[in-house]
Amino acid sequence: MNALIIEAGQYTPKVVLKPDEQIFCFFGNSFPVNPTDFYQPILDWFSEFFKSIDLTDELIVNFDFDYINTSSSKQIAYLLMFFESLTAKDKILINWYYDPNENDMLETGEKYLGYANLRFKFTDKKNETPIQIALNLI
């Protein structure tokens, strides 16, 4: 399965999906007017990816957003619902980053936690090495 790397746009997040290195990350802002155009190919990619593997180890999907608009949050909900539909869903861990000084992303993450039947980890950005550095993505 080929990696999918999308550089950050003016309204769209950077996306790094590298199965060989076990890296699955979203970071930045997401407020395109038509988020479906942006997220559908990502959903398609995950769909192909999970068909191609038999998940035995834990797979961490990192979400490190600064801001997402409501229509993007809907697309992310669809992505989480897709993860939820997988038989190996318990192997998936959603690692949700938040800035403790700004409640928005924590609240958004908690909304997902309350509805999606997936494992969540909330990571305080302040106490962690920034994800881009930790994963050597810069």
């Binding site: 407020f31 479906t36 801001y67 619902m81």
Partner: protein, 385 residues
């Protein structure tokens, strides 16, 4: 106007004003107005914003350069010369607006001056207006040479410079505010063609009068910035970077304002109708920020289809009646509702506005015709600082 306004229970007097402001700005083809204190920092910002607003225009670069210079000069004139009455906080604000027509720009500024300056300013502008292009050039040199720079930094030169670059007569008016102060309105027309000053005189007087009529509305509503028509994702970024530099508020409040603003701006981009029948991607509508007592208000206005009105009212009333927990649950249900298409996400946006602002949504519908209605939405944020 009142007879055709459907006033819902959750309205305020400002809601009707939104449509009036929208109409005036649309008639005058004004894309934005800034009203506030003209500081040095502001000058830099307003120029960056205006720069962005015409970077995608097909205007010739010499025209853009002229507009740019007149803008810098005009805005700096205000920051240097505006009267600063200590006892009259509510009238201290100056404003700036730019109007664009094919091949032409109109820059209008309004600021307070002391009444004692009126005669001097009037005679200087008249003097400049009575000179031909060549005479103006010579006069410019002469003033430069004599270096009679006034204490505040040289308004004489500023006016001459504006007149030279404009190539047109300067339009101006004074409106008394008090025994000691007046508003000084100055409008400059800049066009790409070499114009003939003789037949241009007062050609845009109506435009200036319309803008002057707008001023009391801006004061009444205490509006700091208006963005009108051409709603487009690119322009959202311009506005955000302008506000980022301009707002003195804390990061937390700024962020709250930004998040709400993005939703409201994008609601217009996605859901507004252009009633002039244009299929342009740029949507008609208005967005502005105002401040009333301890509340910051974000207001959007745009046309919707008349048949949507009852559904919007039902939805907003429903949202307004929910407490925080119910609202969160409603939001989650909408978020994970797969029956909704993406185009249908306005509901989610409205819930989000109530959650993020923590205040009831205020709305107003102004019927236009059997097909369209003007929908005003006001979101209030408590400024606890």
């Amino acid at each position: 106007m009142t007879s055709e306004t459907i006033t819902q229970e959750k309205t305020d007097k400002g809601a009707g004003a939104t449509f009036r402001i929208f109409k005036l700005l649309s008639t005058e083809n004004l894309n934005y107005i800034y009203r506030g204190n003209f500081t040095k920092n502001f000058t830099k910002n307003i120029i960056a914003l205006a720069d962005n607003s015409f970077k995608d225009e097909m205007a010739p670069s010499d025209l853009k350069r002229k507009v740019y210079h007149v803008m810098v000069e005009g805005v700096q004139n205000i920051s240097r010369h505006q009267a600063k009455p200590s006892q009259m906080e509510d009238v201290v604000f100056a404003f700036f607006t730019i109007k664009h027509e094919t091949g032409k720009y109109f820059l209008t500024t309004g600021n307070l001056v002391e009444n004692s300056q009126i005669d001097n300013l009037t005679s200087r502008i008249n003097q400049v207006n009575n000179l031909t292009k060549e005479q103006l050039k010579d006069y410019h040199k002469e003033v430069l040479r004599s270096a009679r720079i006034s204490q505040q930094g040289g308004a004489g030169l500023g006016l001459i410079d504006i007149a030279r670059r404009s190539g047109d007569k300067l339009n101006f008016q004074f409106n008394p505010v008090s025994d000691s102060l007046s508003y000084f309105y100055l409008q400059t027309e800049i066009s790409s063609e070499q114009s003939n000053p003789e037949n241009q005189f007062n050609s845009n007087n109506n435009s200036l009068l319309n803008i002057i009529n707008l001023h009391p509305l801006l004061n009444e509503e205490n509006i700091s910035i208006i963005f009108c028509n051409s709603f487009y994702q690119e322009h959202l970024l311009d506005m955000l970077s302008f506000l980022e530099n301009q707002m003195a508020d804390s990061n937390k409040l700024k962020r709250q304002i930004f998040n709400i603003m993005i939703e409201m701006f994008q609601n217009i981009i996605k859901h507004a109708f252009n009633i002039d029948g244009s299929t342009s991607e740029e949507k008609q509508g208005i967005f502005y920020i105002s401040e009333i007592e301890n509340k910051i208000c974000l207001t959007s206005g745009n046309y919707v289809e008349a048949k949507q009105v009852s559904n919007i009212i039902k939805l907003i009333n429903n949202i307004n009646n929910l407490d925080k927990v119910e609202l969160d649950n409603f939001y989650k249900r909408q978020l994970f509702d797969t029956n909704q298409t993406n185009n249908n996400s306005a509901g989610l946006g409205l819930i989000d506005l109530k959650i993020k602002s923590g205040n009831p949504l205020i709305y107003n519908f102004h019927e236009i015709n059997y097909q369209y209605t003007f929908f005003t939405l006001k979101v209030q944020i408590l400024n606890q600082e």
